[in-house]
Symmetry: C2
């Protein structure tokens, strides 16, 4: 196969200068209409593929927005990425994605790796980082957005919500539904700050309402369906049983629900059950799960909109770190509705 043609090859073939070819590939540049058509036709015929690697270096714009999420295999984060990708697409920006497996040490390595690609902005999940990770973000010289959280000391912009408050609302709902003793199924502390915040919100609100409560913690995050089932088995074996079980995610809640099904325990009549995250399955389980919709897609979309603004007006960035608060919605459903 012949060597891949470059811009000068197209220029020669079209009888114009490389600069004109370059302009022909930008939609807004000033090129004669016929000239452009001719150039694009020749380029297609020769199988020319624009080299953004060179363009990026010269123009000092990569067209990337770097993003880190804890896990690919999580519908919530996938939705956020979709929202972000779609908000960016029109602006000609591409998402460069990496996952951390819920480890801030991995996050640090990932951030460094991503910054080497010279993204125009970086979006991270959560507000907890290693010291060096945080320093890398601060010194990156590009807009930084922390999502899915409201960090106390944000690095840059924020698009998120209080996981603790959202879980607190859930506790209030269960209290109103008649529950007086609760259990919380979640992971250990390490890594998943959102999970830890939810647990904290649970504990604080349970105390405030003078409810009995207990915590069932499993290994490191994310808590799987299977672990949810194991935790529920433990809870069901206890005496007295709690009136309601709250879970760090719908996946854990679903696992817990199946354990009830296996044992012939009725949800919500024998025990109420709630999840977090409004995953697809929460709507279709029997009974459907009460959960919290954190509006994952919106988080991505609003992050994209925020960045689109910032990347337009050059200077406007360090001027004003922005905080976009998302309001999670409590979705009450059958699993907490005693008949």
């Amino acid at each position: 196969m012949a060597k891949a043609p470059k811009m000068t090859d197209i220029a020669k073939a079209a009888g114009v200068s490389p600069m004109t070819v370059s302009r022909a590939f930008k939609s807004d540049a000033s090129v004669g209409k016929k000239t452009r058509e001719k150039i694009l036709k020749i380029a297609e015929e020769l199988g020319y593929v624009f080299d953004s690697t060179a363009s990026n270096l010269r123009s000092q714009k990569s067209g990337f927005v770097a993003v880190t999420i804890p896990s690919l295999n999580n519908a919530n984060f996938a939705d956020t990425i979709r929202g972000l990708t779609e908000a960016m697409r029109d602006k000609g920006l591409q998402v460069l994605l990496g996952y951390t497996d819920y480890s801030i040490e991995n996050e640090e390595r990932l951030i460094e790796q991503l910054l080497r690609r010279r993204p125009e902005a970086i979006v991270v999940t959560g507000g907890r980082h290693t010291e060096r990770g945080k320093r890398l973000l601060e010194n990156a010289g590009i807009p930084v957005v922390e999502t899915w959280d409201l960090p106390e000391d944000p690095v840059g912009h924020t698009v998120g919500f209080s996981n603790a408050d959202a879980m607190g609302q859930m506790v209030e709902h269960l209290h109103a539904a008649g529950a007086r003793s609760l259990a919380f199924i979640g992971g250990d502390d390490n890594g998943d700050t959102r999970g830890a915040d939810r647990r904290r919100g649970f504990v604080d609100k349970a105390r405030a309402l003078k409810l009995e409560y207990r915590l069932v913690s499993l290994g490191k995050p994310p808590v799987s369906m299977r672990e949810g089932a194991l935790a529920m088995a433990e809870i069901l074996a206890s005496d007295p049983r709690p009136d309601a079980v709250l879970c760090v995610s719908d996946l854990a809640a679903f696992g817990a629900l199946t354990e009830c099904q296996r044992r012939g325990i009725s949800v919500p009549d024998d025990i109420m059950l709630a999840g977090f995250g409004a995953f697809d399955l929460s709507e279709i389980t029997v009974p459907s799960l009460t959960t919290v919709d954190a509006h994952a897609y919106d988080i991505g979309e609003k992050t994209g909109a925020l960045l689109a603004d910032r990347l337009r007006g050059e200077l406007s960035d360090d001027a004003s770190p922005e905080i976009v608060r998302i309001s999670p919605t409590l979705k009450v459903s059958r699993s907490t509705a005693k008949r």
Copy 2:
């Protein structure tokens, strides 16, 4: 904030040439141990971040492997990406990911966009492409891998399996389990070739075994849990009912299962049910779902291994397109085990 330091700045500060700094950042290059340590220390102090954008241009190596998947929000594809990412990480290669929403027109646009970044290889899901998409792949001048399928006319390498055969095995299993009339829940044709192949495998095998069968098709892929439930509702309303229902994915199967639960229909006693994909939930539902494990993670890992080989020995590539056959495993479980 001061301007970001570049290699020459580090060189000056360390009293060496830029070339030595460059070498200090490659793990295998020949630099004095003390020199390297000094350089790395200074770089860290000055907050230097290596610019791979420039490196890529000069060395004509991007360090990217481009990957397209139909959807981010699918645990199977997420697993494949994890497998691929982990196989690549050691080789210093990064995955550049894009999703097509199950549309080969989107795929074409995506391929073009990805190729502009000059990836060192490209991995696509499935073997069906637009004409121009296929041409782009053929002319890309880099290794191409098609996955999750065994295309009749592969562009380059293949790491996949026959979706039709796998579903055929499932039909055989149900036949052996005593089913004589079957139904298949799946999507329409457009886009999801894997789904269409599974349906074809279902039909062919059902005919070969002289089983009665029917198809329940829903909108465009992916078939959701909700659609699975709707399809099952339709099937349960029919008379006579089929003995077994096969679904294009575990997600559809789970939706179908919940519909049975809602109506007090016992799976497997009243009707047998099977899915595809070995999603997490298949193990934990009540009853657990018979499914096909396509070894999604392996697909990614083996693709990574294949590419690592090809990207090492320069010439070995166009020499021999490789076909790596994955053997899906039938996972028989409670949902097809009549008591």
